[in-house]
Amino acid sequence: MTKPRPKPRVLSPLADGQLVSEKPVLLPFMAPRLQGDCWPDGKIEISVWGCGKIANLTFSGWRGPFTYAPNRIETSGGGLYVAQSAPVLFLKGAKLRTLVPSRRCAWWGSTMKREPVERLGERRIARTGWGVAIAEQRPAGIFLSAGASIEEATRALDLAQEDVIAEANAYVARCDEMPEASPLMRSMVSQSLHAALSSIRQDEHGDFGGLAAGQAYSAPARTYYRDGYWTLQALLARTPDAIRSQIELLARGIQPDGEAPSGVILTGPAQAEEWEKVRRSHPQIKEEHLRPGDWWSDHFDSPLFFILTIGDYIRSTGDNSPLSAHWGKVVAILDRYCALDTAGNGLPVKPAHDRDWADNVYRHGYVSYDIGLWVGALDVIAAYGGAIDENIAAKAAATAKKARASIDDVLLQASGTYADYGTKQDFVEDHLTLDSLTLLRYRAVSAESATRVLAKVASTLESRSNSDQPYGDWGVMCAFPPFKRPKDTRSKSAFAYRYHNGSDWPYLSGLYAEQRLVHGLEDAEYPLLRWWETCLEEGWMGAVEYFSPPWGRGSLLQGWSSMPAMAALAHKDKLCLAMS
């Protein structure tokens, strides 16, 4: 079935790491306060972190070709420049057509009557119950600011045109961390790193406002344990202060019994009030979001990511203070998962629900992905907890040893890979998954086993090597074959090759590439770049969340899709060797 058919690219990478297209392509952008979507043929949707969608603006004046960089578009005579220090952007060479305030802050918000747009000379002010946008036509183009209040939006207009452009250009340069690479690799690193750097958000007072999961995951404003964890891998060495603050936000969601939600809600006051109404009344939302600050309560992997985040922070900075500050929560988590070790083998048994990364799949029993995280979390407590409580640290070390000794017995398959989930007494989903590579990342299995698994991943999950799937060479599948028990899947994952059922998730492809590089294996370029090639082919501007033929893509500018950049940059020396 497979024959050569190269697909033409909508976006072409340039030697300087930018991308160019003849036809306009949607550019999602995200700065500490401001975020939105820009269609270069004349439309912008503008939102503010913690507030929600504020307004739509239409404009004229740009023509292709369009050159794209993180948070920036340039055309002959025009361009989009997004500031970093204030919630304002500049549409160079653009003529303002309309400014329309939003009727609701998000899909779940109440629909409000639009207030009339106020005109003050060349300035138009759009007000909503949750934020304000101001558009001002100036000789060189349009200034567009937004904020939680008229004061914040007005203050942002103080930034001079040249300052906005300078800040935008400096941000582009900051993302460009592999200038020596080929255009394809260089542009991937730039856009993928942009996904992590832009995830660092601020509240209206300029304080740290959490790591956003992505540009489309902002209403209500929230930060996730798992998305945040994979996103901060690229930030540990670059913005350690943000990680320290992130730990404090995550700590808010840890319950006394060690439970934690998928994410912690961080809305501003107006959005918080609106969200709380929905949380208490929406039939599905009220069942999933049990406490006011919870985004989808009780996720199996979240408490483990909390400990892993602390461990990575300590390892990166040497600062032990978050572990001391949150030791009680860490011990509660340890106790919670030890209590789930029903067989006494050091491994927690996951209840049959859909609450971990694979949140459209009812995984139960021993879940490779969660067990990898568990062993990693135990190692953190064992390595750094001794100074606080020797007994607890020793217990963690002993449990980790027992867990490592038990994994092969419950999960290893004849193929040499690790099952996705299940128990031998009941049912085992034995297909190969990329998320099972957490077992490798946290050295829960031997290096020998890891090498064997990685070889199998290459032949099974890299679509170029797997002719049993129907779509040829298109990416790295997160699972293959598709789930064999349909009742374990729901919603998008019920379709073969869609979502958790086989899509390419660049964050997992990044994890896979990282493990190839860690274990000294060649050809990490495929998982690093194949997903990016698809973005260029399809005209998806930014680090996509997931995709598969024929089911399309998830969101653009997704924080954890920075994992490929992280892996490439952390192992640049090996990549260079491999590429020379």
Binding site: M1, T2, K3, P4, R5, P6, K7, A15, D16, G17, Q18, A69, E74, N169, V172, A173, D176, P179, E180, A181, S182, P183, L184, M185, R186, H282, P283, Q284, N360, R464, D468, Q469, P470, Y471, D473, W474, P481, P482, P486, T489, R490, S491, K492, S493, F495, A496, R498, E525, Y526, L528, L529, R530, E533, P549, P550, W551, G552, C576, M579, S580
Partner: protein, 323 residues
């Protein structure tokens, strides 16, 4: 112009030759009473071409030959994109999941005792699936439309008639006889036991289909689209007719919500796709149910059935290779 260094000595192309995709085509057909709409997509789901013709009626079932010819014409035009692997045909009738038989209009003259899929397969180089057209529109909503991220969706078409398709966790819910979604038969209204045998199409359908809307306005001859237009221009009588229609429709929709509790209801068809109708229906729902219900107009337009046929074909291919 850029402040990124333009000095980028390539180490070497990180990935060598451009990647290749698999070849193959899927056809989707929406067979209606007045027209046949056929589409062709590649395995990425990209729509390559469409073709529309008036439906061939008459003895000898010329529509069978017509559907085969349209599909083969499209496939031939795009043969460089690979072989035809699957065709899905949507029909305005319930299709029995066990026998594949459909009760189609006598005007089409299709042999009622043979599954349509088998008749079409005789002329095509691939397997054929025949499915209810509203089910296919629902499948399009679940894969391409507003229900893309929803675990369940009920798609309700209000137009010439009324019908529903249900997709729950990625699967079409057809019912044992393929009649799930025959919404027009809901026994709504006063004294339904006496009224049902005399119903024109079905008790609910008689209240909400196009003839019912026309009957609510003046002498009953003004087209539905014109009634909506006049209501939008301030004609009070037209607005009252639409309001009555929306109130009646809300009873059926509340019944669906109470039985299936879908995450989202999407309304389509000539009447259902109008935002003003959806807004009125939503308002009436709030007095019928003690919880909020999410209702949206379709964003897929009149090609929804054909697009759903393509997506179902691609889904069938995925499932076959996965098995």
């Amino acid at each position: 112009m850029s402040n990124i260094s333009t000095i980028a000595p390539d180490l070497r192309p990180a990935v060598g030759n451009r990647r290749t995709k698999a070849l193959g085509l899927v056809a989707g057909v929406d067979l209606g009473g007045t027209k046949v709409l056929a589409g062709l997509s590649d395995l990425d789901g990209d729509l390559l071409a469409t073709m529309e013709e008036p439906t061939a009626h008459g003895e000898g079932a010329p529509v069978l030959e017509q559907i085969v010819r349209m599909i083969l014409t499209l496939a031939e035009r795009h043969r460089d994109r690979g072989p035809l692997l699957k065709a899905v045909v949507g029909v305005p009738s319930a299709v029995s999941p066990s026998t594949g038989l459909a009760s189609l209009s006598p005007n089409l003259a299709i042999p009622a005792e043979q599954p349509l899929a088998r008749l079409l397969e005789a002329g095509l180089p691939c397997g054929v699936v025949v499915e209810n057209d509203v089910n296919l529109a629902a499948f399009a909503e679940a894969t391409l439309g507003k229900a893309r991220d929803c675990a369940s969706v009920a798609f309700i078409a209000f137009g010439t008639g009324v019908g529903m398709g249900l997709v729950i966790d990625g699967r079409l819910f057809r019912g044992h006889h393929g009649r799930a979604g025959e919404l027009g038969l809901l026994p709504l209204g006063t004294n339904p036991h006496d009224a049902a045998p005399k119903a024109r199409a079905g008790l609910f359908e008689d209240q909400v289909d196009s003839p019912a809307v026309r009957a609510l306005y003046r002498d009953g001859t003004v087209p539905v689209s014109e009634i909506f237009l006049r209501a939008g221009s301030g004609d009070g009588e037209a607005a009252a007719a639409i309001a009555t229609l929306a109130k009646s429709a809300s009873v059926g929709l509340a019944s669906i919500q109470a039985v299936f509790d879908p995450a989202l209801m999407v309304l389509g068809g000539g009447i259902g796709s109008r935002p003003e109708f959806v807004e009125l229906v939503s308002q009436h729902m709030s007095s019928l149910l003690p919880f909020a219900v999410q209702i949206e107009p379709t964003s897929l337009g009149p090609e929804a059935g054909m697009r759903g046929a393509l997506m179902l074909g691609l889904h069938e291919l995925s499932s076959q290779t996965a098995a």
